[in-house]
């Protein structure tokens, strides 16, 4: 069982996850942070009007059960399976990010297959514990990671790297580039990804559904503001350079030097960033495994094995980190992810509402007959 606080923690770390690796809304140049804000607001609209509403209608079922209930066994199975693939694919992307960046920043000589194997293992270990263990883990990690982030920001500030002047002039080319960068890219990464929580919300131990909504939105807002702040700091410290580097935040920290004690803290910072990625990939791994176990009616511990193997094998599909980023940002974000995050949930919600209405009507009719 998950406490509401653990739910909020997980929403926060899940959203921060790998978004700290990239300069979100890079197409809007120095107005990127506005794109993030716009994306976050649009994502909030999506979350509160669609995703949370689906769960509100069926608070005790997860996505797979809802599919089976409303779409029938066969179509429900197909939709459920598509989501297993989607979650696994997202997990693969995160595993690859984690692995490639680890090799880039920490382990230049280690074979990729080995690093991916270890990542799958540490993710799988948490998944085997079940949602209870994973959410508790995130609750412990969140304060530690946020604290390190704050220290990092202070370091950047004290090193004199942050120059808010780099954000000026705002809206040089009008609002259109900001909007274009935000919709749909920033909705689908990272904010629309909360669709994963359709697998987790039902485990929350709350007296009423309102608590779940409140805590999810609180976590979401915190994460949205945090990501915006991170974006501002990255741009303010790197300026134009932010758009070119592989991992802008890490790039910024390479300039930090704490007296003579630590010359380059970027290996440590990369660990911090990777912990958030780890949370995200494990969340996806867990979501896919739970979905898989519900689809085939097997226990989670068994379901985690085929899903894990699938993730391990699947992560070799990308030829390189750049290939992975390219596929993600150029194609997935624009054409594929919105289907899972926006289209299918809206369709599902409409079907649910319709069937509820029909049921209510028939109930009303039968009552009138009596």
């Amino acid at each position: 069982m998950i406490t509401p606080r653990q739910l909020a923690s997980t929403v926060i770390l899940f959203l921060i996850g790998s978004s700290s690796l990239f300069l979100l809304g890079g197409n809007a140049d120095r107005d990127a942070w506005m794109s993030v804000l716009v994306g976050a607001l649009a994502g909030l609209l999506l979350l509160s009007c669609v995703t949370l509403q689906i769960q509100r209608l069926e608070p005790d079922r997860n996505l797979i059960e809802i599919f089976k209930l409303y779409f029938g066994r066969i179509i429900g199975f197909v939709f459920g399976f598509i989501y297993v693939i989607y979650y696994s694919y997202k997990c693969i992307r995160n595993v690859r990010e984690f692995a490639d960046l680890s090799i880039m920043y920490l382990l230049p000589d280690t074979p990729l297959s080995m690093v991916i194997l270890i990542i799958c293992f540490i993710g799988g270990y948490a998944v085997l514990g079940g949602p209870g263990v994973f959410f508790r883990m995130v609750e412990v990690l969140l304060p530690i990671l946020v604290m390190i982030y704050v220290v990092l920001f202070i370091l950047l500030l004290s090193a004199g790297l942050i120059d808010l002047g780099r954000l000026m002039p705002m809206l040089e080319h009008g609002f259109k580039p900001v909007w274009d960068a935000a919709i749909p890219e920033i909705i689908s990464f990272p904010f629309g990804e909360v669709v994963l929580f359709l697998m987790f919300w039902r485990y929350t131990a709350a007296d009423e559904y309102g608590v779940v909504i409140r805590m999810t939105i609180k976590g979401y807002v915190f994460a949205g503001l945090f990501i915006t702040l991170m974006n501002i700091i990255t741009i303010a410290s790197l300026g134009q350079f932010a758009g070119w580097s592989v991992v802008p935040l890490l790039q910024a920290t390479t300039f930090v030097e704490i007296s003579n004690l630590l010359e380059r803290i970027d290996p440590l910072v990369s660990l911090l960033v990777f912990s958030a990625v780890y949370v995200k990939l494990t969340a996806y791994y867990l979501g896919a495994s739970i979905a898989f176990s519900y689809l085939f009616r097997i226990s989670l511990r068994i379901a985690a094995i085929p899903v894990g193997i699938g993730i391990y094998v699947g992560s070799f599909w990308f030829k390189s980190y750049m290939h992975q980023v390219n596929v993600g940002f150029e194609r997935n974000l624009k054409y594929h992810f919105p289907i899972f995050q926006i289209v299918i949930p809206i369709v599902l919600l409409l079907v649910m509402l319709l069937r509820k209405k029909v049921r209510n009507k028939s109930n009303g009719a039968s009552q009138r007959q009596r």
């Binding site: 606080r5 920490l106 270990y125 209870g132 609750e139 003579n260 010359e263 990777f274």
Partner: protein
């Protein structure tokens, strides 16, 4: 086994009940004595004294006890009383010798009747004395438990600068008394159990009714009753049988030698399990942070206590991580070090023939051997070990170029840090995890360490102690409990008992009245 044999030997036992037939006492004293001797298997330490009473010249009675495990003084007083009584005429009309003895002549507080040979025999093995009376179907058991035992001394494994100096002993009765002397509450419950087919070890389960959670108490009883073993020699036996998860390096049950620690736990709603024959009592359910707290934290001022707790927590991480961090940074991430330090490290390592991982392993294993030698060896040859350890293995190894001086510093600091943790069993956990992390660091650098720590965190999150999450005040987060974790707030601010550990009943939650912060200005006004 014993029961079956006696039942088989006894011809008079019922034919239909082949097993576990209680051999009842018969009116004939000779026969009873013989059967009791047979039950106990004879032996030089079994003392038998036959007496005759003046008022009942036809009836004899016999006093039995096992020498050495009875309280000599009590036996002396009792014998004196019996002899005096035997030589004097019974003043009042009494129906039988048995009632006379039972009611008038035994100078010991706790006596009770018994009817079966087995019952009598086991009572004697516990240290009681027994009077068998001719013509009576009942024997008198007199509690004379005693004999030589260690007196209450200062605990050796958990020492404090300020605080009570009493420690538990091997004697269960002394231990329960030490607790009773501190908590004089009628709600204190002491439940006794016997575990172990051959040792028949006494176990006491102690808790405060209404403050300990009922289901936890019930679960403790259930788990102890499930134990099936021939012998219990130390509380460690019980610990391994009743802990929630078998495969974990972390201790899931706390142990202490200090009555004040045990009492503090009882007052917070935990359950204490005492085992006869060991000064180490078990405390359960327990959380991770408890192992970093010393009872002294509550006696010293809160500011220094908080500081020391943070030091201990840091030491735990140092003793777990320092060698692996050193390996990872020197092998994989040299760029993190300042240039001057890097150069001096490189110069030191120049002559060393091994990679950092092997070097660290050599030194760590050496240290573990030294430590074990220090614990096992006879006290007299202690100085020899320290000379060999410090000079030969430390200085000479560096001079010979086998290990670098930096590695010696790292290993020594790790070793010292591991002694800071107040609970020895948590220190052991850190010691074991250290080696795993060292291998990870040697193969994958910081990435390996982080992977190891993530698995460790997932493992910790999955642990439970009697159903209570191991990381309790942090996850699930209970803000009110944080006041007594890595920090300790002043006593007047600790208004509530730890939530989740103690009973949920609202009036029980408060331990301190509100507004007790010392404030002279307020009082003056």
């Amino acid at each position: 086994m014993f029961k079956k044999q006696t039942a088989g030997n006894d011809k008079q036992a019922g034919d239909d009940q082949k097993q576990h037939v209680e051999q009842l006492l018969v009116p004939d004293l000779e026969q009873n004595m013989e059967r009791l001797e047979r039950f106990l298997g004879g032996g030089a330490d079994i003392v038998c004294r036959t007496l005759t009473h003046r008022s009942f010249p036809n009836q004899r009675y016999a006093l039995f006890y096992i020498d050495g495990i009875v309280d000599g003084t009590a036996i002396g007083t009792m014998l004196l009383g019996l002899l005096e009584d035997a030589n004097s005429q019974a003043t009042e009309e009494t129906d039988s010798l048995y009632t006379h003895l039972m009611e008038r002549s035994i100078a010991v507080g706790k006596i009770f009747p018994a009817t079966a040979v087995e019952e009598v025999g086991y009572a004697m093995l516990e240290g009681s004395s027994v009077i068998l009376v001719d013509g009576s179907l009942r024997a008198i058991i007199i509690d004379t438990t005693g004999g030589e035992s260690r007196s209450v001394e200062e605990p050796t494994s958990q020492t404090v600068v300020r605080g009570p100096k009493e420690g538990f002993t091997e004697n269960l009765r002394t231990n329960t008394a030490l607790v009773r002397r501190i908590i004089k509450s009628p709600k204190l419950r002491v439940d006794y159990k016997i575990v172990g087919r051959e040792t028949r070890t006494n176990i006491a389960v102690i808790y405060l009714q209404g403050i300990a959670q009922d289901d936890v108490v019930k679960e403790v009883h259930r788990r102890i009753e499930q134990i099936e073993i021939d012998a219990i020699l130390e509380s460690g036996y019980i610990e391994e049988f009743i802990q929630d998860k078998a495969f974990t390096p972390f201790p899931l049950i706390q142990n202490t030698e200090r009555p004040d620690t045990a009492c503090a736990s009882i007052l917070e709603g935990q359950v204490v399990i005492m085992v006869s024959g060991t000064p180490f009592v078990l405390i359960t359910p327990v959380t991770f942070v408890k192992f970093f707290q010393s009872s002294e934290d509550y006696y010293q001022r809160y500011d220094i206590s908080t500081f020391l707790r943070l030091i201990r927590m840091t030491s735990f991480f140092i003793s777990m991580l320092l060698p692996s961090l050193y390996i990872a940074i020197t092998t994989f991430h040299q760029e993190m070090l300042p240039t001057s330090l890097l150069i001096s490290l490189a110069a030191q390592r120049e002559g060393v023939p091994f990679p950092a991982l092997v070097e660290a392993f050599l030194m760590e294993i050496t240290f573990e051997i030294l430590r074990e030698a220090g614990v096992r060896m006879p006290r007299i040859i202690g100085p020899a070990i320290s000379i060999v350890g410090a000079l030969v293995l430390g200085q000479a190894a560096v001079q010979a170029g086998l290990v670098s001086a930096a590695m010696v510093i790292v290993v020594s600091f790790t070793a010292i840090a591991s002694f800071v943790i107040p609970a020895v069993n948590m220190g052991i956990a850190a010691r074991l995890i250290r080696f795993v992390l060292m291998i990870l660091a040697g193969s994958f650098g910081l990435f390996g360490i982080m992977s190891g720590l993530m698995v460790l965190l997932a493992h910790l999150c999955g642990l439970r102690s009697f159903g209570k999450p191991y990381l309790l005040p942090f996850s699930p987060l209970i803000v009110s409990n944080l006041k007594d974790t890595f920090i300790r707030v002043p006593w007047w601010a600790m208004r509530k008992r730890p939530i989740g550990m103690s009973s949920h009943q609202v009036p029980n939650q408060n331990r301190i009245g509100g507004g007790k912060r010392p404030d002279p200005d307020q009082e003056g006004a």
